[in-house]
């Protein structure tokens, strides 16, 4: 008998600590930061002190050497309170730090990881372009070799944690020629802020994650040395897929946390709000919504935890489950915020109530790191739908 649903002690302690932190430090500020569309360097610093960056990175490189499962639990707890802060943590760990740790050489790791793990500085992952969203193969950004340097030209859009003083640099995927089979060859480069020819602009007027940084990147004859190439030339596509497989788990954790937070807000409100002389939670229409939410959250949780557990075991099956978990958790979050707003009635549409923010923040989860449609495509391929 080895099936055991108890979380390991490490994850339980991390959950308790992150929950207290999120409740006491993030919750009181979340609404104001969202209203003002403001990134908070202070909260980021405090999250760094708590150790929320560099989760799974070994201690020698400044990380904490935690299990992926513990990382998921922490992101879930942050998202239970605020999507923006969860986004900063999830993107920095999975997309910023991850590729440097998994594909970087020793020199690159020593140079960047220690300061990225403290959260002093953030790092972005630039894949999406205005004409290459779901179709990542549509990338236009190019890098050409000149002596020992690479000259990058092109642009990227919607890149999390990639601009402002908080950001140290970005990993950027570019075309570096064509492969033997005629397909385009992709390679990733590390580009530091301040490199001539590289400009990063913060994007504004977002509907969701308003306290998280989203950036547009421009490369105009941006010159980087050969030493900034990540891994080997031509490995960019594989690196990107690998990063997204793991990254999807953290978006799933955001979906789970968002669903849990919305459910708790709805349950509390429904028990307090009275109509027709009774708490509205006692009307079956509302009670059944809450029952559905609680049930789907449980299902979502064990799908995600199992995917994370497989990832910790180094078992490749996790890739299929990470797509499933991302798809399912983000859609459970959709149904939960929707029910939760309905249960709040008119008040759910007012900014004074937290659920209004959850309703907006949820929306990205079905779009970022693979839309729900693309994930269904990925899963249907994995289960063999298109094989003859």
């Amino acid at each position: 008998m080895s099936l055991n649903f108890d979380l390991p002690e490490e994850a339980v302690m991390i959950r308790d600590s992150v929950r207290d932190f999120a409740e006491n430090v993030i919750r009181p500020k979340a609404k104001e930061l969202d209203d003002q569309e403001k990134f908070s360097p202070e909260i980021t610093k405090q999250m760094g002190e708590l150790g929320l960056f560099g989760f799974c990175i070994p201690e020698e490189l400044g990380g904490n050497g935690c299990k992926y499962l513990s990382y998921m639990v922490a992101v879930e707890e942050l998202a239970r309170v605020d999507g923006s802060q969860a986004a900063t943590v999830a993107a920095h760990n999975s997309l910023g730090i991850g590729p440097i740790y998994f594909f970087g050489n020793d020199e690159q790791k020593q140079k960047y990881l220690p300061q990225l793990c403290t959260g002093e500085k953030l790092w972005g992952f630039g894949l999406t372009e205005s004409e290459a969203g779901s179709d990542a193969g549509g990338t236009k950004t190019k890098a050409e070799k000149q002596n020992n340097d690479w000259i990058i030209n092109g642009s990227k859009i919607f890149i999390t944690n990639a601009s402002s003083d908080a950001c140290l640099g970005v990993t950027v995927q570019a075309i570096t020629g064509s492969r033997a089979d005629g397909k385009k060859e992709y390679t990733c480069f590390l580009v530091e802020q301040g490199t001539p020819g590289f400009e990063a602009k913060t994007m504004h007027e977002k509907m969701m994650w308003r306290a998280s940084i989203t950036s547009e990147l421009f490369f105009e004859n941006c010159r980087v040395p050969d030493a900034n190439l990540l891994g080997k030339k031509g490995e960019g596509f594989h690196q990107m897929l690998d990063t997204l497989d793991r990254g999807r788990l953290s978006i799933a954790a955001m979906g789970l946390g968002c669903a849990q937070g919305a459910y708790e807000l709805a349950l509390k409100y429904a028990k307090e709000r009275k109509q027709f002389g009774k708490p509205i939670s006692t009307f079956q229409a509302n009670a059944f919504k809450l029952a559905d939410m609680a049930t789907e959250i449980e299902a979502a949780r064990y799908l995600l935890y199992r995917a994370a557990w497989l990832c910790d075991q180094g078992r490749n099956e996790y890739k299929k489950l990470s797509s499933m978990a991302k798809l399912y958790c983000s859609e459970v979050a959709h149904r939960c915020v929707d029910h939760a707003v309905q249960i709040h009635g008119g008040y759910g549409l007012m900014k004074e109530y937290d659920i209004e923010r959850f309703y907006r923040d949820q929306r990205l989860l079905e779009i970022g790191e693979g839309t729900s449609e693309i994930l269904r495509l990925v899963i249907s391929r994995q289960i063999g739908c298109y094989e003859k």
């Binding site: 002690e9 490490e10 339980v12 302690m13 991390i14 308790d16 600590s17 992150v18 207290d20 932190f21 002190e49 708590l50 150790g51 929320l52 989760f55 201690e59 904490n64 050497g65 935690c66």
Partner: protein, 251 residues
């Protein structure tokens, strides 16, 4: 310097408490156990002293069932150096004196300059263990401290009392019990949590100590009855006063 901190594991203050089938204890299923909030102030204070003056060892001690290990680990994750658990049987009832005696049996074997406790555990609310430990060790005791300074082998503590502040000086070693506001306890950082996982906890079995008091029953607070509207405006005041005097007996 050597600091001992006595800690207890208690139900999370947000837990909805259910009374057990014996009507004398609380039902432990579905309880989320945490480090007693007042003990967090004590642990934090000890760690701050260590950070300020260096060369200090902080040892946390708990008397309780096996699950109390996690409260000790929380303290270690915050920064305590060593942890000792005096293990009791899962369902054993210990009164405050028995707990104090169990703590003292361990403390007597240790070197220490200062003992810190929370002013009370938020489950039993007895506020007795700290003072009893002091008594059994024949040490000075200052309760409810809201500020602490250590200088030249002396401790200066502030206590908030009705309408003012009292400043107390004591020689060391002494037993001090922590009040809310003594400091701002830190959140255990991941680094500390990972370290705590690797630290062994010194577990000892409790020598049975017979409790001298017995819990007869535990009951829920009475459910609040609905209010009563006696009238409106100034005319209602005499009736209200009469009812408050005669019926509610509060004035």
């Amino acid at each position: 310097m050597k600091i001992l901190v006595c800690v207890k594991q208690v139900p999370d203050t947000e837990t909805r408490i259910k009374i057990g089938s014996d009507k004398k204890s609380i039902d432990a299923t579905d309880i989320n156990w945490i480090l007693n909030p007042y003990d967090e102030y004590a642990v934090e204070e000890a760690i701050q002293i260590k950070e300020k003056q260096g060369d200090t060892i902080v040892t946390v001690i708990s008397v309780g069932p096996e699950r109390s290990v996690s409260a000790l680990r929380t303290a270690v994750a915050m920064g305590a150096d060593e942890a000792i658990l005096v293990k009791t049987d899962d369902d054993a009832y210990l009164d405050s004196l028995a707990v104090a005696k169990a703590l003292v049996s361990v403390i007597k074997e240790l070197e220490f300059d200062l003992i810190l406790c929370g002013k009370q555990a938020v489950d039993d609310d007895n506020l007795q263990v700290g003072p009893m430990v002091a008594e059994l060790l024949e040490l000075p005791c200052v309760t409810f401290i809201a500020d602490l300074k250590l200088e030249n082998g002396k401790a200066t503590a502030k206590r908030e009392i009705e309408g003012g502040t009292m400043v107390i000086e004591t020689s060391l070693p002494a037993v001090l019990t922590a009040e809310k506001g003594l400091n701002e306890p830190r959140y255990p950082a991941l680094r500390g949590i990972m370290m705590a996982k690797r630290k062994p906890i010194d577990e000892r079995q409790l020598q049975y100590i017979e409790p001298k008091i017995d819990v007869v029953s535990v009951e829920y607070p009475p459910t609040r009855k609905g209010g009563k509207i006696v009238g409106e405006g100034a005319e209602a005041v005499p009736e209200l006063v009469k009812l408050l005097k005669e019926e509610a007996k509060v004035i």
